[in-house]
């Protein structure tokens, strides 16, 4: 299976799923009841066709023995990306719950630690602290955008 086949299948499924969701949308109570559906249905149909088109293209290419199969092995980069994505998710989850200062400090410290190792702990801590406090003060004081506070200490 090539990455294009994966893309084709995803596009096809997205097109069909989206069209189904569009068709089951509630009808408008004023004006043409189908008005909010027509554009999305066109998009869903288009995406489905594009998915099929890509799959046909790939089938033709495969018959000529072109294209390289997609590998599902996890590379070193893949692992770091997965870890950082997970950390991003956790950061987003705690962003409002424990406040901007603490969540950002922790997030940056961990991500910086992943890339730099513990020997550079001084730079890691100073960058994380500097960034989180700096942004917090800049937004709160200069731009008057209040970022989420910690539930304790009131910061």
């Amino acid at each position: 299976m090539t990455i294009n086949v994966v893309t084709g299948i995803l596009a096809f499924l997205l097109g069909v799923g989206y069209s189904y969701l569009a068709w089951t949308l509630p009808r408008a109570t004023v004006g043409n009841p189908l008005a909010p559906l027509i554009f999305p249905l066109m998009l869903g149909g288009g995406m489905t066709l594009l998915g099929i088109l890509l799959l046909i293209q790939e089938a033709v290419r495969a018959s000529r023995k072109e294209g390289k199969p997609v590998s599902f092995t996890f590379t070193q980069y893949g692992k770091s990306i997965a870890t950082v994505s997970l950390l991003c998710g956790l950061y987003a989850f705690f962003f409002e719950r424990i406040g901007y200062l603490l969540s950002t400090f922790l997030f940056l410290s961990i991500v910086l630690y992943l890339f730099n190792g513990k020997e550079r702990w001084k730079s890691i801590l100073s960058i994380s602290l500097g960034f989180s406090v700096g942004v917090y003060v800049l937004f709160g004081e200069v731009l008057s955008i209040q970022l989420p506070r910690m539930p304790f200490l009131g910061l």
Partner: protein
């Protein structure tokens, strides 16, 4: 003519206020720094710095953003010249001769000519823009909703068709963007679409979140392989950053030739700075008496793409400001900034808010001057940013992407949406699907659907309104041509190859 001059005077009045000069300088400085950093181009720069402008008021905010946009264009080539890594796609052509020049110990001349060529290219293009913006806007006022819809169809399909990869995949990217734009409460009927019962999605997905996800987060993900690289060695000691008479003699004509080329490429939908710079480079190589010197440190090989790139970035603002249709990822972000400030770009912008429209144009003149100052005497200082290792830089960019996203609506849900788009961007990179059609479609999708429905409302549901006027027919023909042309060209190339 008088009208244009009085408009320009109004614009200059706005742009020359001390506070606005300060904003454009700050924007230019930050933009230059961000533009220099590998992987972070003008689009990311504008998106990441946008939250800083929320409290400035529309004029100040727009002027700052124009400065960032401009600065990033100047900055992109600093890293091309010094470390052979373009700051953004459009600066790729600057590595061809810029880096060899630096290797030969002529970094000063390379930095100087790139700033000078950028300045001249940007300046001439701005003057042309001053005289063409209003006529284009006046013409666009004649457009009804059907024409507008088709114009957007043309702009989007041209962008998708121009992409260098498989056209089907570009169109998948385009349709994905349009789908994203349909999420949320439908303003006309009150029907809630594709929100899956999530209250925060009722307002739709803000395209700035998509941009931050794909450009900022996605760029960091994509660049992970750079993260374990050691510190890059960057030249930090320079002589006087200037060029010799001989350098100028070789460069002035290529600069003047590449400027109109870049400008036209910029005005066309879909082409963008990378193409403008590459076209200018190849053009000069073909015209040169010494084509063998190209790629080995020929100064005109650096001057031409630099001028074209900056002229293109100005030209690209014309369809965005006058028609409300951006032609590239970067101008889409600029348009996002305008919409964020409650301003609808398009023909009426010049009538309803002349101070803002002309203030921005005038501040491009000021911005150009400021950027050339930043990039000549201060270049020595600024290039030190390049020695910040990626392993420190990327986590900070992540932090900026999060704060930028949160500041848009103060919603933590948006952070999750941004992460999802970061991962989508990463997948698209792996699958070699261009992201700019998605961004463009995401930003104009809402307007596209509105025009489509208005047209159908006017005609009472009769579809023939979409081919009922000469403008419509022309636009349909252009759309078909933009899709068929690359296919024919590719088929021809293959036949010749066989």
């Amino acid at each position: 003519m008088d009208v244009i001059l009085s408009n320009l005077a109004l614009g200059l009045q706005v742009a020359l206020q001390p506070i606005n000069i300060f904003w454009v300088t700050l924007g230019g400085l930050l933009g230059t720094i961000i533009g220099m950093l590998p992987g972070l181009g003008p689009a990311t720069g504008v998106a990441v710095l946008l939250p800083l402008t929320f409290t400035m008021g529309p004029v100040g905010a727009l002027i700052t953003m124009a400065g960032v946009y401009y600065g990033a264009m100047f900055g992109g080539s600093r890293s091309s010249i010094l470390i052979n890594t373009p700051g953004d796609g459009a600066a790729i052509a600057s590595t061809f001769d810029g880096y060899p020049m630096a290797m030969q110990g002529r970094a000063e001349a390379a930095l100087a000519i790139s700033a000078i060529a950028s300045f001249i290219g940007g300046m001439i293009a701005t003057v042309v823009m001053i005289f063409t913006a209003v006529p284009v806007a006046r013409f666009a006022i004649k457009f009804g909703p059907a024409e507008y819809f088709l114009l957007m169809v043309f702009a989007l399909s041209a962008t998708a068709a121009m992409a260098k990869t498989n056209m089907v995949k570009s169109f998948i990217s385009l349709f994905l963007g349009l789908m994203v734009s349909t999420v949320g409460l439908d303003a006309q009927s009150g029907v809630s679409r594709f929100t899956f019962g999530i209250l925060e999605l009722q307002g739709g997905i803000d395209f700035l979140i998509i941009i931050l996800g794909i450009y900022a987060l996605g760029e960091v993900f994509k660049s992970f392989r750079m993260i374990h690289e050691g510190i890059r060695k960057v030249q930090t000691k320079f002589g006087r950053i200037w060029i010799t008479k001989e350098d100028w003699k070789r460069s002035w004509l290529p600069i003047l030739r590449s400027t109109p080329l870049g400008f036209f490429v910029g005005v066309l939908p879909g082409a963008g700075g990378t193409m403008a710079a590459l076209m200018a480079y190849n053009n000069e190589k073909n015209l040169s008496k010494h084509p063998e010197e190209f790629g080995k440190g020929a100064i005109e090989g650096l001057a031409a793409p630099e001028a074209a790139n900056n002229a293109c970035s100005v030209g690209a603002l014309i369809p965005m400001m006058t028609l409300g249709i951006p032609g590239s990822g970067t101008t889409a972000v600029m348009m996002g900034a305008l919409l964020m400030l409650g301003l609808q770009p398009g023909p009426l912008l010049f009538e309803k808010h002349p101070d803002i429209a002309w203030g921005m144009i005038a501040s491009m003149i000021i911005g150009n001057i400021v950027c050339v100052i930043i990039n000549l005497p201060l270049a020595k200082l600024l290039v030190r940013v390049l020695s910040v290792p990626a392993r420190y830089l990327f986590p900070i960019v992540l932090g900026l992407a999060f704060i930028g996203t949160y500041a848009i609506e103060n919603l933590a849900t948006d952070l999750f949406i941004m992460i999802i788009f970061g991962l989508i961007g990463l997948f698209m990179e792996k699958a070699n699907i261009p992201t700019s059609p998605l961004i463009l479609a995401g930003i104009v999708g809402g307007m596209m659907e509105q025009s489509f429905r208005q047209a159908r409302l006017i005609s009472g549901g009769d579809w023939s309104i979409f081919w009922g006027s000469p403008i419509c027919v022309t636009l349909i023909a252009l759309t078909i041509a933009s899709i068929v042309w690359p296919i024919v060209k590719e088929a021809k190339r293959k036949r010749l190859g066989n």
